[in-house]
Amino acid sequence: MSRVSRESVEDALFRAGYWLLFAVIMLPIVVVFVTSFQQGEYLTFPPSEYSLRWYGEFFASEEWLSAVVDSATIGIGASVLATVLGVTGSLAVQRSDSVLTRVLPPIILLPLLLPPVVIGLTLLIYVNRIGLTSAYLNIVVAHTLWATPLVFFVMQSVFARFDWDLRDAGMDLGGRPSRVFYHVVLPNVRSGVVISAVIAFIVSLQEFIMALFLKSYYVKTVPVLAWTSLESSLTPMVSVVSAFLVLASIVGVLVAAAVMNMEWLAKQL
């Protein structure tokens, strides 16, 4: 066989291979959206009849709506806390070479490498021993442990592109450090901060294992409620709430990709 025809066969196989993988990756997401419009009681794919029945039941359910409020509250809390900690910490590490700023990055990365079950159990024991009883605060803390390293490393790459001479010029002109940060540094890194906050919010919104350990009778996030409902039965209601969760992620990814671009985002996560 000539080299050219062999290469075109290889090309076709290569392309077929990754489009097949692409299809398999997107399949569960498709299942979620399609089955959310199912009419029947027990989840099947593809559904035999379609309706908005389960969306109606979702908006009529106090339990689910209160979970949405809990998820949003915790997500905003974790996003604000992780963004503040991650941005200030990253700024410090950029500008200083002390022992603390050298040991910190590996420590903040560690929670991402441990099984979430282990972090959940560790925090459950801890908050019980020191008497922290607010499930909201406990889950915010758990999610911040996960979101902070993401914010931190996104900001590391954003600050690395910032021209620090601009800041030094501001300082030489007699600006206080806080003013210089606000007027000179922040406008240049604003999009990085926004993306960090969006990613932190989405990570918190989607996480459920740590939230499962730290939930209370009154405070349950949407993924936790979805998970516990799966233990009794597989109804299209799970698809309705999942569709909302996936939609939130799609919006977040598109916003982040529009501000920077998809490739930059892929390298940060």
Binding site: E7, R95, L104, S249, E263
Partner: protein, 299 residues
């Protein structure tokens, strides 16, 4: 004299820019100390307490919890299965990720964005979705069986899930995006000209991939392997949604010990033993990779 120079030193420190950095890093350092480092010390302390009939534990100083975990035949099986799932899921996920990240690296324009989007979206989607959505696809009356019977490959339905097949599919699906991004971030810095050069010298495409691309990507493959392995050994969502009950992992038993059986010393001891085992295996994997990177450079 000595105090004077100390004050002078302090004065110099305060004037230098470093002080600002210390104040900036203080909140993050305090948070990590208070909610990560100290909780792990408390976890170690908890593992030395005694199990109690009423309540989650009784204060004490004993190695009983470790002994009960190490002596339990059931736990040996759980640990063996967790590591087995870790090895299988990691192998499949890293091989597929190597292929997919190479495809994303070679693609351009909209196609590249689409491939990367298909990685970032599942990454930022809840584990609940990533596991339960496979159930209607892999069930005995599910889509995969319909297709296989439709094209005549099988005559009767196969139970892909609940079972080992479903558990592996679910777990690979969970760690795959992380593995792709780890490899992609390394590949994206690779100069395509080196691959072209190898091909110009007569190397076939598969050969240039194995001998030029894979060695370049090795640091990314190492990270992908360690991350996939750590998460697959600690798998919880995939085996509970897609397993049959025979696919019980250590993480599922931890959840049971902490939230149902209320035996916190055993849960703490079991976690610490597993973390130790995972650390040893992860270091061994890293060593294996750095060894082979060194070997490649020698050639």
């Amino acid at each position: 004299m000595a105090t004077e120079s100390m004050f002078a030193w302090l004065g110099r420190r305060i004037k230098s820019q470093d002080t600002g950095s210390v104040m900036l890093v203080a909140p993050l350092a305090a948070f990590e100390l208070l909610f990560f480092v100290v909780p792990f010390l408390i976890l170690v302390r908890m593992s030395l307490n005694e199990s109690a009939q009423a309540g989650p534990y009784e204060s004490g100083l004993t190695l009983d919890a470790y002994r009960s975990v190490l002596d339990s035949g059931l736990y040996h099986d759980l640990v063996f299965f967790s590591f087995k799932l870790g090895v299988i899921a990691t192998t499949i996920a890293v091989l597929l990720a190597l292929f997919y990240s190479y495809a994303a690296y070679r693609a351009t324009g909209f196609r590249k964005s689409l491939l990367l989007f298909s990685i970032i979206l599942p990454l930022l989607t809840t584990l609940v979705v990533k596991t339960y959505a496979w159930r209607p696809l892999l069930a005995p009356n599910g889509v995969l069986n319909d297709v296989l019977m439709g094209i005549g490959l099988t005559s009767s339905p196969i139970q892909f899930a609940p079972g080992m097949f479903g558990t592996v599919v679910g777990q690979v699906y969970i760690v795959f995006p992380y593995a792709v991004l780890a490899i992609y971030s390394v590949l994206s810095t690779m100069d395509w000209d080196t691959v072209e050069a190898a091909r110009d010298l007569g190397a076939s495409r598969p050969r240039s991939f194995l001998e030029v691309v894979v060695p370049e990507a090795l640091p990314g493959i190492a990270v992908a392997t360690v991350v996939s392995f750590a998460w697959s050994v600690g798998a919880y969502a995939a085996p509970s949604q897609l397993g049959s009950g025979q696919q019980t992992t250590f993480a599922m038993e931890i959840e049971n010990l902490m939230l149902t059986a209320f035996d916190w010393p055993a849960g703490a001891a079991f976690s610490l033993l597993m973390l130790g085992g995972m650390l040893v295996v992860s270091l061994a994997i890293m060593r294996l990779f750095t060894g082979s990177i060194g070997g490649v450079q020698d050639v």
